[in-house]
Symmetry: D2
Subunit: 361 residues, 4 copies
């Protein structure tokens, strides 16, 4: 039997991306779509203004949209809910035994909730035990990071060995990061909006937790100072960050290149269906990565890095790019769920049984 999954906030832009990415997933099958009252009881096709390319996958188009308070049967629940409503719904589902993979920021900084990025911190999954013992949840809740933190954390993970102490980040972010309808065209055509509400705060806090170590039921954050300036640019998808970094053990540029190129993440991550291989792509052209040309690298799951050079103020400078609604949102959640399956968290289901079930269907 394929593993059934539900999508919360299924009609929104990130919800749509979940459905698109899961269309031919080897383990998962979308069987429940959940949205606000306004959409419920309609078919998904009726309820949804599909904003991605192509059309709604036919097996999802006919599903009836459930309301947020409906009980669910899928063991795995992907949440694309806005943070204003995510809190209560996600906790209730985790308590009831579901494995919730959330894009919302609500629980990211909670002590017992991981901001999971499998290549970087698969071990943080052990916080689930604490969720069970302290909150009494039968299921679990894992979050993924802010979409701009994704390329930053992916690029910094292999450099933890050099003890990063200071990061200065300026982002150029795609319009899809604001959802749909999101950014008005009158605001962004021939323009840059030099501010994104709440984004800089997340970018300052989340990387330290994500890059920290799990020990004895808690995460010791990597102590770093982070400065952030976030900008919206007229680009459809993928966020680009200009990073300057300072380390306790200043590396040579070649050490950094080697660290990036050898980076794979711990087993079993490289073998998961949605894991890009390699997770980091380092470009040598001096004008790459570029959002439009590189966002689909690794099917949108790779982080693309370029322009490594000395920084006159900190130690080094570079740029990094990742697809904001794939690596920075829906794709990462799916990878997180794959990791939970592979680690045996989902009762009675292993990757092998899921795969053979889907294959024989």
């Amino acid at each position: 039997m394929a593993i059934e999954v539900a999508i919360l906030g299924a009609t929104g832009a990130v919800g749509q991306r979940f459905i698109q990415l899961l269309e031919n997933h080897p383990w998962f099958r979308v069987t429940e779509v959940v949205a606000s009252e306004r959409s419920s009881e309609k078919s998904y096709a009726e309820a949804t203004n599909w904003v991605l390319t192509g059309s709604i996958p036919s097996d999802v188009a006919g599903l009836t949209v459930k309301s947020l308070d409906a009980p669910l049967t899928s063991p795995i629940v992907f949440s694309a809910l806005p943070s204003t409503v995510a809190g209560e719904v996600e906790a209730r589902l985790a308590a009831a035994g579901h494995y919730v993979c959330s894009n919302a920021s609500t629980y990211r900084m909670a002590d017992d909730v991981p901001i999971l990025m499998p290549e970087v911190n698969a071990g943080h999954l052990q916080l689930i035990e604490r969720q069970r013992s302290e909150r009494g949840w039968k299921g679990a809740l894992v979050t993924n990071s802010n979409c701009t933190a994704a390329p930053l954390v992916m690029a910094m993970a292999p450099l933890r060995q050099f003890q990063p102490k200071v990061l200065h980040v300026v982002s150029m972010q795609a319009i899809s990061g604001a959802g749909y309808p999101g950014v008005a065209s009158l605001d962004i055509l021939d323009n840059v909006i030099p501010y994104i509400g709440g984004e800089e705060e997340k970018l300052k806090k989340e990387p330290s937790k994500m890059l920290g170590d799990y020990t004895n039921g808690k995460i010791d954050p990597l102590v770093m100072t982070v400065s952030a300036a976030c900008n919206r640019v007229p680009v459809l998808d993928s966020h680009l960050v200009c990073v300057s970094a300072k380390f306790a053990e200043k590396p040579h540029l070649d050490d950094i290149y080697m660290a990036w190129e050898e980076f794979r993440g711990p087993d079993p991550v490289p073998g998961l269906p949605s894991a890009p291989n390699p997770p980091l792509i380092v470009m040598q052209e001096n004008d790459r990565p570029q959002p439009r040309r590189d966002r689909d690298a690794g099917s949108g799951m790779a982080t693309v890095i370029g322009r490594l050079r000395p920084c006159d103020v900190l130690d080094v400078q570079f740029i990094a790019l990742a697809h904001n609604t794939i690596r920075g949102a829906a794709g990462c959640s799916i990878l997180n769920a794959e990791l939970m399956v592979a680690e045996g968290y989902i009762n009675g289901i292993t990757a092998a049984t899921a795969e053979s079930a889907v294959a024989s269907a």
Copy 2:
């Protein structure tokens, strides 16, 4: 009699901007247009693919384009030549008695050539004496800065009292900065190009010289460390810089606001025809300045500043924006020429005589 001016590189994008800005200038009248061999002997209208809005001003449309080696009669010469050819031509004209206001980077870092930004360093004009004594020029050569340095230097000038020591700059630059045809649409639509050849080097060097003091025939640069990362974004006009700064005397944010708001530049600059009043506009909205909405402030000559806040890495962060082909190029050159007239450099011509001549024409 109005003061006659010549435009070198008149058919290019910056050359066109000169002609547009000079259309109703109270002192200057364009009487000579100069371009490469390919255009010479044609009428300006025939030789030019006008890329700005509207049409070619009618009194310039009929001028016959002169070649680069033709002798000129105009006392003031505005140069929009590419740096590859500017060197020889500009020096020859300065030697022959013309006052050359150049956009080219060729002579910017020469010890006896000012990078003039009247509000910031009008005193640097005294280097002209050295050009005469050492080079034997009868005229003079002044340059204006790189277009991205313009908003940075304008914003930092009032803060010199706090002794800036470190600047970290990330730019988002308009396509018009690359001239015409310049950036291919296939390269920039739905994209960012995270590299502009030569730009970061200029941004590291020019501000120190521009913010320095003139003493005894030379400029003592302001000693600062500058880090720069330059990006091209899908915006037509105006460059936006994200700046972090550290000072020897760390100011309060209110001190900075006050310094910006009181800044006017030395006499006679505020009274010059092209001087914006005030030169700095500080916005309090958290998402401003924006390129499309703020580039025309002060007729494109103002620098618009916003988002002043503490920086977690250096002392403070802010953003600044200026129109790259007006304040960062043609408009600044015109202001430089106005300053030379006002300071009496142009033989026998004063601002008053020029103005009354144009007015009575």
Copy 3:
């Protein structure tokens, strides 16, 4: 005394354009701003997300927003209300003695309401008498056309002498035509939306009425067949129409050129403050007019025409462009109000008294 005017729907995109265009108007001064309940009792600056370039004119920023049911004192009322609410509000104000110049489509096709385009059909203003006798209004209501009909009608008006019988129109329309927030950037960046709700119907109906003759209290429409296909393109302002036309008296191309070039509109229209001079600009370059380069011709009030050539299917083809929120909306309403003043409709106020009042203020 200047003539006081009120703006209905003042906080929206077209409302903002009214305020921008009226900033230095020689006759009119904005003294009342009206918007929905949500905005009322706030200052205009607080209530408004200003989406145009620059900032809110200072004398309007401090006005307190009135609610839609508040009584007004201004003799002239400009309406930028959505058609869903315009009907009741505009009729009430016209009944009460105000001269309402409306952008809403609600009353456009009413038998006693003109779709006024002063250069084209100034005589339609006589319908006001019928409004008074039949509806008992003390004031009056005039509308302006759909924004896409504007360039079409302006281009066809001088060709009425050749008896147009068939028009085939394909439009490429700017995003500002949909108001704010209007078109989502995710819908239009790198895209065309080949449909605009209700637009094609308006384009088929309004021109016949606008180009018709006023006789004996009613308008005889110009009988024409019109086909329309409307598209939204990633352009900020101005609508471009590709027109093919067939006439009962097929003209030579030169006859058409002459008709366009000689067109001025009837007195007193050419002398009104907002009337462009000339109203039609005919370009000979084969790739003009273009939205970005030509939309500001005549301060946004001119219609720019180009590419006149034979059509293989009908008689001739050409393209025409006009600024959709100026000529196609706010600017045309202002011109309509100017015409009413000049024709003496506004009790006790003449153009001369208004102008001298503003000039001496």
Copy 4:
């Protein structure tokens, strides 16, 4: 053995698209890349500024670029040469025994050269016999249509039964149609260019030939009157046409829908590797197809049709869209070559042997 193919003009935008599309082709393998003198003797990676997404396929990156006069060994030659140089080179190669599939317009209207669109006019391939007998060529030359004619002809092909007599076409075309660097960003951002040199003439001539019948060594064109107006819009890929059509036998809309939906093209076309299935996709949403959302339908080979409705001037109106560098250029050429293989034109090679060779490689 796979069938070896050469790409002429391999470094340009369409040449790159050929290489991208052929990366995993089941029959063909790129073994020769040919470009102008400037590139020859460099590796393809050195000679090419790759402008598509992603990177150069690794097996092509290392090929040495050959000059235009070099002898070739590949039986099939794809030409992306500009029409200014295509004439001589393509004829020489066809004479020498190569099967040349050309995107250039040079030979399109020659009596013995087909403008091949396999679903529409596979029978035109028989003109090859005439090329051999009259020109003495050992190979052959087939062209594909102008990129804007592609969606028009695909949409009209199933409607030939109703005898189309009049077409009125207005296009909105992508920037990639102009090649690289092609359209300057300063010309197209926030703009429409209402003219594309030579395009309207092609759109008037090519469809009649393409939709004609092959009889006795020549093509009887479908006699139609076509009017065309071509516009460039800020879209990366895919051309959209607004079509009005008149027929001798006016069909009901339902007849047209049925004709489109049943259309497949003659055997063996539907089974060819690059043939989209179905070739026409009819959308019922009133705002589709849209360039960005629908250009990749059928891997860029489908034609997407929408908005069928009565036309007030001709009989019916609709819109059609196709990817200009895939269906309108490189992809169609590849399909043409596949048809030639399937029809046994390429000596000693059948589809079956090619496929098994590639599969076992």
